[in-house]
Symmetry: C2
Subunit: 460 residues, 2 copies
């Protein structure tokens, strides 16, 4: 029986010994309420930055604080374990800011910013999103380097992910010379079910729109003018229904689906093996019904197909009861989720041309764009991820997709220009953004093992 540090039994035992230290360090991080969305937590962000940098130094690394271009933005912590110019460098992305939490209002059973340990569960805001995974990657890197792995590991820890990474891309540009890397691994994604590791092979993008129509200047009496007056809310409703079928979601704009690449058979096999169930999806999101109840259809709809979505309406009366006016103006907020290889600009052009050809006086304003991201399901990095996850968790991962976008991924792709892999450790039951968020030792331990093995494979 081998006692090499990368013999699985040996590694599991060695990592088990680290558990008290892991719990202590995670509590140090979680007990600092690094809420990026609330300005009164700015001092906590500063404390969190110091604690994160200190942690990397304690693990034997070097840490520096990258200041954002916007003086009101939050810094990024850049850490390094290893600076061997002969060895490859892998950059691990995590974020250290968290969602807001209020014990009373949100129904936490303990203080959200005082981590509590309940058996193998670590409860507190940020435990799973994303401090626990960040710490697992750091422990994995330390383990690997302590046991002869030469791969340099850089850590890019953002403090603005929960507010849409407003300073991240500019900071990458400004500090590009210090961020040179061979590849990137992102650890901020969620498996579909426990025991079935999942890796996203693609992220959806987003193209937002504001549709606007003005037909008058003020609320008018619907008795005095109704019938002759145009109704801008109603007309925009008509436009939305021309753009897509509001019941099935099918988009009616010519060419909308032209660039969509259907998942491969291998990807569909991954979807089926992911442990996804419609029941769990409905429960997690508290839906009373869905557009489809077929699991593969639901997965395809949320991961692999573009959408047309209505987010809200501005204009008219929305107080209690009824106010019988004809509104002078309306705005409808819509967006399209995009899948590889759609682009925001082509989608924006198709939507705009479709609407303006039919309704010249409707203003189509393009809002936020996030391009979709296509990851790799084969090749050396994808193989290394799969093998490392098997090492950590005893099962090879399936390739799924993320329905949402991760702005930081697109920024890193754009500025750093290197392949990006995903090695997420969170589970649906951990409760991303939810009350009583938790992480657990099983995922931490498997994650430390997987990261250690991944760094070893990249060094090989």
């Amino acid at each position: 029986m081998s006692h090499s540090p990368f013999d699985r039994q040996t590694a599991v035992h060695s990592i088990e010994v680290l558990r008290p230290e892991f719990e202590r360090e995670l509590k140090t991080l979680v007990d600092i309420p690094t809420v990026s969305a609330q300005v009164d937590h700015k001092p906590d962000i500063a404390r969190g930055v110091e604690a994160a940098a200190a942690l990397i130094r304690k693990a034997g690394g070097a840490a520096e604080v990258l200041r954002p271009r916007n003086p009101d933005g939050n810094p990024i912590v850049l850490g390094r374990l290893g600076t061997d110019p002969e060895a490859p460098t892998v950059t691990v992305y995590n974020h250290m800011d968290v969602q807001p939490a209020d014990r009373e209002q949100d129904g936490w059973t303990s203080e959200p910013f005082e981590m509590t340990i309940d058996g193998d569960r670590y409860r507190g805001r940020g435990t799973t999103d994303d401090k626990g995974p960040a710490l697992s990657a750091l422990f994995g890197a330390r383990y690997a380097r302590q046991h002869g792995v030469r791969t340099n590991v850089a850590f890019l820890w953002e403090f603005e992910e929960e507010i849409g990474s407003p300073s991240f891309e500019a900071a990458l540009e400004d500090h590009r010379d210090r961020l040179s890397t061979s590849s990137i691994v992102v650890s901020d994604t969620i498996w579909i079910s426990r025991g079935r590791p999942a890796v996203p092979a693609g992220l959806r993008g987003l193209q937002g729109f504001l549709l606007r129509l003005r037909t008058g200047q003020r609320d008018e009496h619907s008795g005095v003018t109704g019938g002759a007056a145009r109704n801008p809310i109603a007309e925009l409703m008509g436009v939305v229904c021309e753009c897509f079928d509001p019941y099935t979601g099918q988009v009616r704009i010519p060419g909308f689906y032209d660039e969509v690449i259907a998942p491969t058979d291998e990807e569909f096999a991954g979807f089926k093996a992911s442990g996804f169930t419609v029941e769990q999806f409905m429960k997690d999101h508290q839906f009373s019904s869905l557009r489809s109840t077929d699991p593969l259809e639901v997965m395809s709809r949320i991961w692999a197909r573009p959408t047309f979505e209505v987010h809200g309406v501005v204009g008219g009366y929305s107080g209690a009861g009824l106010k019988t006016i004809v509104p002078p103006y309306a705005e409808v907020k819509v967006s399209c989720r995009l899948v590889p290889s759609m682009t925001g600009s082509r989608t924006a052009q198709r939507v705009r041309e479709f609407i303006q050809a039919r309704h010249p006086d409707i203003e189509v304003i393009t809002d936020h764009t996030l391009e979709p991201y296509a990851g790799q399901t084969s090749g050396p990095l994808a193989d290394a991820i799969s093998s490392a996850i098997e090492f950590g968790f005893g099962a090879r991962p399936v390739f799924v997709r993320e329905g949402g976008s991760i702005g930081a991924v697109l920024s890193m792709q754009k500025i750093l220009g290197k392949p990006i892999s995903f090695l997420g450790l969170s589970l649906p039951e951990h409760g991303y953004h939810a009350p009583n968020e938790f992480f657990d030792w099983g995922q931490a331990q498997g994650g430390i093992l997987a990261f250690a093995d991944y760094f070893r494979r990249l060094g090989g």
Copy 2:
């Protein structure tokens, strides 16, 4: 040459002499800010009630104050000139409450609650809506009775019309025994253009609806769930577009138009002769475009056809920019204007059945109902109104319609059960509900003459 008091030249001269008194009394009324919508004007309402009753007594009549059933409601002043049991009684309805007005905010060129005289114009809040017409009717009644007309004239002066007459119908019920009358005349309507007297031969009604759909419990991430999640705002948009064509206004619900009675040829002739122009309508209401530019079509749409109108949407995100959520819930506020001989209940049933047969999980809540009102365009009362208006203004009126509803008309029809005529004196340029509202001596003098002659004809 005759010098009878109902010789027109004689009457015009006699009324001209009353002008200073009319102006003094109108100023007394207008200078009391009887704003029913603002609770801090309650003392002014009380002063207005006293002033109105005093005015009737000064004109030689009796006045009493009818208290409303709801102690927070405003009273009604009931006045009488004449109590001859052998003579018919006609009840004149006006209202003495006014719209709010703020000099700075609304852009008045003088204090809204200090009536100013500018040539033959009387500027101030309530001059034309509805204190000037009320005073004209009172002066007309006094003139008629002073010159031998036996008709008893009762005055029903409401103080809650501008807030939808919440206490009026109950007060009519409670005081029904004191309100016995042969007929009713309402003086709270607007001509289409100066020099062309117009009388409404019908009022549209209203049936309100709230359409509601819940598909979840909270905002969900449109990346994580979009495509599989139903979108309740979008589905209600679809429902609205099934109910009617949002561009033309044509209602698609089977049977919706079944009871609609088209205006007679005589009514269409009245529409054409009313002085209505599309340009003026657009200017008055600040519309940049309409569903039609044909005058007869526009008049038919606002006066003689039912509508389906969207007033607003509840649910989703309506702040600045975009928030990429799938909303859990939406409500759309709609209403139908009704024309004679539609009914609120039949319309409500058709709309509800149409929607629920197609979308069983959409909740259709019926809101406020106002039945349409069909007036008379022929018969003794209609003839008397026409002849009286010709006496007052030198031209016979055309019959048009009112697009809106007057709640008090329906209440009087229901409780008093007697025919209702309309003898309005206001002009579009007087600015109902607008800044710098005014009334003018020409309309007052013609109105006094017309009312005097109308009471004479009813006594004959």
